[in-house]
Amino acid sequence: MRALEPWVVDPLQSFLTESSARLTLLMTTSGQVVAQHGFSRSLDVMTAAALGAGIVASTEELARLMGASRFGALVHHGVRQSCLLSAFATPRGRWIGVVVFGPETSVGIVQLFFDQMVQQLMTAAPREQVQAPMLAENFESELDASLKALFGR
């Protein structure tokens, strides 16, 4: 497990222990990765982050068109692996969680402890620092720095 900020570690570790998730990605809605577990290649993280952010943006737009409030979570059921995507509010802005899990756990367990993690992140997030908006010109260098921190490369 790797996290850009130390206060994310405990809630995420607790989620991983309780849920038995195989892969987990926490990111901002713009696709900037905040923490990851289980990915071994930075390319996979970048791709998953981009796709996850895109899917959440699409479903939220779909919900808006249908006059519904935001969807709580999106679950793709697979035979060997399933995937949960969920956006949630934090004091640092809106984040997205992407969780891949296998038959050793269940969607009920993953959702239960995902929600618990969200509550813990809300409590643990430092309030004093407001995240600066991501500027187009520093996006790449921010992304590069994040991936280095997340993979130690």
Binding site: P103, T105, S106, V107, G108, I109, Q111, L112
Partner: protein, 115 residues
Amino acid sequence: MSPTDAALDRVTRVPGVRGALLVTGSDGLVVAEQLMDGVDGRAAAALTASLVGRLSRAAESAGMQPPAFVHLRGDAGSVLAAPAPGDLVLVAVVGPDANVGLARLEMLEAAGRLD
């Protein structure tokens, strides 16, 4: 009244039962519920389905068939579970003074009728 509502109704009528739920066994999601305030249905569904799955695999390893009834006893009450046909599990959360014997009979009967 639907068969599901009827099943939950007969279980929640037993003294000491705080709530009854019908949950999916493999996903641990709530299908239907009748709960008193303070009982977290989502947690009961996910945690009980997961535990029943694990215990069924352990029973199978011991050369036995999956359980027809499970009773998890805690300091301040119990969780009862009766697997039903179609990957469903009938779950009840009961207080420490509940008539577990009666709840068991009602659950086994109700789970059998969910076929």
